[in-house]
Symmetry: C2
C-alpha cells in the first residue's frame, strides 16, 4: 500500500504527518470492509451509529480505487448486494430503477427526515460515479460487466424516471436535495444534474459495451438512446447578470444570510441556532455543492467560470460540514489561490488531529481525511480522470519545496514528483500510462513507459480574481506551522 | 340569527336543506366558543384532536362576522389571548412580531411536520384578514383599537421580517407553504404574498388611525411607511408565455402530475398513495390556492386573468381537501361557469350530509360548510368587501329561480333577493348601506336606505373560456336532484 500510495510533502512536516495519518485511517476503514459498508466513522467510533452515507463513494472510494482497488471493488460489490432493497425503495417512491439509501447499515433507508434523506437522490449518482471511475482506473472488464453495469443501469433508470423534459427543451430534475444541507427540496441542483447526466452517459456506454449483460437487465436500445440523449440536454442553471452558475434554479435570486449577525452571536454551526425553515431558502451554503460539481464535472465549466463561481460561493459557504474544506482546496488550487488551498487542505487532514469540530471522540471524519488526499492529488496534482487518460496540472503552495504521490492505474504504479517548476512522471509496471498535462494555455498528451520517467515543466495557474473571502469568521483554520 | 342570516334557495330543495344545515352547524361551533378556538370539527367530533387551523379565520369567520359578529369577535379575541405564545414562536424562528400556530388548541404550535406547519405562514395573514374584515363590517372602533390593531401590527412585523427586497425591486417571501398542501417550502406563493400585502396595508392603516395605541406597541412612522411601501412592491409571479399567474415562482415550469395513472389506479387521495417527495414539485394542486387568492385578493386580477387562471388550475386541482370546492364555486361563478359553480357548491355543503369523504363520523367539516355559505353569497351573490362598500354581482345557476340571503353590516341587516334578471336590496335598521353592483362593463354605486328597497337589473357573466375540465375522475360530485 505505502509503496504505491504514500504522499510525501517537503516543506511542511506537520502536514506530512497529517496526510499519512489520513491515508492510514482511510485504508483501515476500507481494506477489510469486504461486503459491508464503509461507514462515516470507519472503524474508529460510534458516531452516526455506524451508518454509511454518500461520502463513501464520493470521498473515500476515489482514494481506495487509486491506492487499494480491491477494497474499492468490495465496497461497490456491497452496494450491489443491497440492490433488491434499493429497487424496492424506488418502487415505494413510484420510480423505476434503484434508489439507494441516504443512510444505512445494510441497505435499508434509515433516514427519518425525508427532505435531507430521500430527497438527496444524488447518492445514486455518486455510486454510479464511483463504479464508472473504478472501471476507468482498473479496466477490470469482469467487474464492469458483473458489478458496475447493474449499478449504472438501475441508477440511470432512476434519473430517467425522476427527471422530465421541460418546455425549454432541457432535461430537469426537480424537488431534490443536493450536497448542501442548508438548502433542500429544490429544482435543478447543478451537482445532482451534472452527476445524473454522467450516470446516464456511463450507463449507456456500459450497456453498449455489454449488450448481452444489459439485455439480461431488460435494457433495450431505445432506453439506451434516451439515456444518452437526455444526458446531453441536462439543465444547468446560470445567472447571466452575475455571470455565475446557480447551485439550483433560482438560488442566486434569494436573500443572502445575515452572516454578520451569525458571527456576532457565535451561531456556528448554524443548524444548532436557526431553523431549516429560515436556512433553506437563503443564500447560505453548509458545504461545497456547486464547487463540488466543479471538481467532479470539471468539463462542464470553463476555467473562467470556475474562478468566478468559486469566488461567488466562497463568500456564502460557512463550512458547517467536514465534507467541504477538501473540495474547496481542490478548486482553490485549480483557480490559482494556492495559499488558500493549502489552508483548506490543512483543515481537512487535521480535522481530527486537532479535533477541529470537537467531536473526534465519536470517531474520525473518514471522508474528510480521504478528502485531504483529494486536496493533495486533485488539488496540487490537478488530477482529473474524466477522459481516457489521467490528467494533471501540477502546482505547489507557498513553502512547499516538493510533493510526491502515487496511484495505481490500469495495473501500473504511477509516481508523480512535483518540484518547483518541474514534474516527473514514473511508471512502475509492465505497460505505459497515458497522461495529459494541462498548462495555462496548452494541453500536452503523452505516454509514460515503465521505468522511463518523463519530466516536464509547469507554471502556476494565474488567478483571475482576488483571493476570495469567506463569511465573517469562517476562513479556514490553517495548520500551525512547526517552527 | 335566522332573521339576518337565512339563505333561501328556490328551485333546489335538497340544496336549501343543506345550506341551512351548514349555517346551523357553523353557528353551533362558534356562537359560544367565546375565548376558546373554533376547531376544525366544531363541537361535532374528535377529528383533528380538537385542533384549530387557518380555516377558522378564512372560512368560518367570514360567515360569523356577517351573521353573528359577536361570535367572530370572540374568536379573534381568543387569538389575541395567545399573542405571547405567538411572539415567542416568532423569536424561536428568529423573526419579529408574532407567528401564530398552524394547529393548536390554546396557542402552542402543535404541528410536528414543519414543511406543512411552520412554513405555512399564511395562517398569520388569514388572522389579519379576518381582523381587518371584522372591523370593516362592524365599524367597531373599540374592537379595532384594542384587539385588531395588535393582531395586525404583530403579523405585519412577521412579514416584514420574513420577506426581503429582491434585486428586481420587488418584495419577496421565500421558503413558505401556501394553502395547497401538495406543494411546500416554495418561493413567492401568490396567495401568501397577496394576503401578506393586505396585512401590511391594513396594519399601516390601523396604526395611522390609532397613533397612541400603535405607539404603545412600539410602532413608529418609519415602520408604518415600510409596511405600506413593501406591500406596494409585493411580487406576484406570472408566466407570460401561458398568460397565467403562477401559484408560486416557477410553478408553471414544473412537470405535470400523471393524472391518468392516478385515475386508472384509483389513487385518490394522492397523499395516501404517493410520497410528498414526488408530489411537492409537480403541477398538482390539492386544494384551491391561486384560485383562493383570486377570491380574497380579487382586485389583484383582471376579469380575463381570473378566467384564464381558473381554467389553468382547474385541470390541475384534485380536491383532496374539503377546503377547495367552495372556493372553486366562488370563482367559477365569477368567471361565468354557473353550472360548475353549483356543482361545487353542492359538494361543499353536502360534504357531510352525503359523507363524501367517508369520515363524517370524525366530525363535520365545519369550514367546508361555512365555505358553502361563501359559495352562495360570494359566488352567486358576488359579494366582495375589500373596499369601503359592499360589492355584489348577482347571478343564478341553472334551475334556480330565486336566491335570498342576508348579512349584518355596520349594525344593519341587509337582505339581497336575486330573481331572474333582477336583484332587490333591502336594509332593516337605522342607517343606509353603501353598495356597489358590478355588471359586465359598468360598476354602479348607490346607497340603500332603511326600508327603501332598491331593485336593479343584472345579467349573467359571459364566460370567455370553455367550461374548464378537472383531472380525470375529479369533477365535482353534483348533488342528486330531488325529483
Amino acid at each position: 500500500f505505502w509503496d504505491a500510495a504514500d504522499v510525501k510533502v517537503e516543506g511542511n512536516p506537520e502536514l506530512q504527518q497529517a496526510v499519512r495519518f489520513a491515508l492510514f485511517h482511510v485504508l483501515q476503514s476500507g481494506a477489510r470492509a469486504e461486503r459491508r459498508a464503509i461507514p462515516a466513522k470507519g472503524l474508529t467510533g460510534p458516531g452516526y451509529d455506524g451508518h454509511a452515507f454518500w461520502d463513501t463513494e464520493m470521498f473515500v472510494l476515489p482514494l481506495l480505487t487509486a491506492t487499494a482497488p480491491t477494497a474499492a471493488a468490495d465496497a461497490l460489490r456491497w452496494r450491489v448486494t443491497t440492490m433488491d432493497l434499493a429497487k424496492e425503495r424506488a418502487r415505494t417512491l413510484r420510480l423505476r430503477g434503484a434508489a439507494f439509501p441516504w443512510r444505512t447499515i445494510r441497505g435499508q433507508e434509515c433516514s427519518a427526515y425525508w427532505p435531507a434523506g430521500t430527497a438527496a437522490l444524488h447518492v445514486n449518482a455518486g455510486i454510479a460515479a464511483a463504479a464508472a471511475r473504478h472501471v476507468r482506473w482498473t479496466r477490470d472488464a469482469d467487474f464492469e460487466r458483473d458489478w458496475a453495469l447493474p449499478l449504472l443501469v438501475e441508477t440511470a433508470r432512476l434519473w430517467n424516471a425522476v427527471g422530465y423534459d421541460g418546455a425549454d427543451g432541457q432535461f430537469h430534475i426537480d424537488g431534490v436535495t443536493g450536497p448542501d444541507e442548508y438548502t433542500a427540496v429544490i429544482d435543478d441542483n447543478s451537482y445532482t444534474n451534472l452527476l445524473a447526466a454522467q450516470n446516464l452517459t456511463a450507463a449507456a456506454a456500459a450497456a453498449r459495451r455489454w449488450p448481452d449483460a444489459a439485455s439480461a437487465l431488460d435494457v433495450d436500445p431505445v432506453e439506451i438512446e434516451q439515456w444518452s440523449e437526455r444526458a446531453d440536454r441536462i439543465a444547468l442553471p446560470f445567472n447571466h447578470e452575475l455571470g455565475v452558475h446557480e447551485q439550483d434554479r433560482g438560488f442566486t435570486d434569494r436573500a443572502t444570510w445575515d452572516f454578520q449577525r451569525s458571527a456576532r452571536d457565535d451561531e456556528y454551526p448554524l443548524l444548532l441556532h436557526a431553523p431549516y425553515f429560515l436556512l433553506y431558502r437563503k443564500q447560505v451554503v453548509k458545504q461545497a455543492d456547486l464547487v463540488l460539481a466543479m471538481h467532479w464535472a470539471s468539463d462542464a465549466f470553463t476555467q473562467e467560470e470556475k474562478a468566478r463561481n468559486f469566488a461567488y460561493y466562497e463568500r456564502l459557504t460557512v463550512r458547517d460540514s467536514s465534507l467541504s474544506a477538501s473540495t474547496q482546496a481542490v478548486i482553490a488550487a485549480e483557480v490559482g489561490h494556492l495559499a488558500l488551498a493549502a489552508d483548506y487542505l490543512g483543515e481537512a487532514v487535521e480535522m481530527d488531529l486537532r479535533d477541529l469540530e470537537h467531536n473526534s471522540g465519536d470517531g474520525l471524519h473518514i471522508a474528510s481525511l480521504a478528502g485531504g488526499w483529494l486536496a493533495v492529488v486533485a488539488g496540487f496534482g490537478g488530477l482529473r480522470d474524466a477522459g481516457d487518460r489521467m490528467c494533471f496540472r501540477p502546482q505547489l503552495p507557498p513553502g512547499w519545496t516538493r510533493l510526491r504521490f502515487g496511484v495505481r492505474i490500469t495495473g501500473q504504479r504511477l509516481h508523480v514528483d512535483i518540484s518547483e517548476g518541474t514534474v516527473t512522471y514514473t511508471v512502475e509496471g509492465t505497460a505505459p500510462v497515458a497522461i495529459a498535462q494541462l498548462g495555462a494555455r496548452a494541453r500536452a498528451e503523452f505516454e509514460v513507459r515503465p521505468n522511463k520517467p518523463v519530466t516536464r515543466k509547469w507554471k502556476p495557474v494565474k488567478a483571475i480574481t482576488p483571493t476570495p473571502t469567506q463569511p465573517a469568521g469562517r476562513a479556514p483554520q490553517p495548520a500551525p506551522r512547526l517552527s
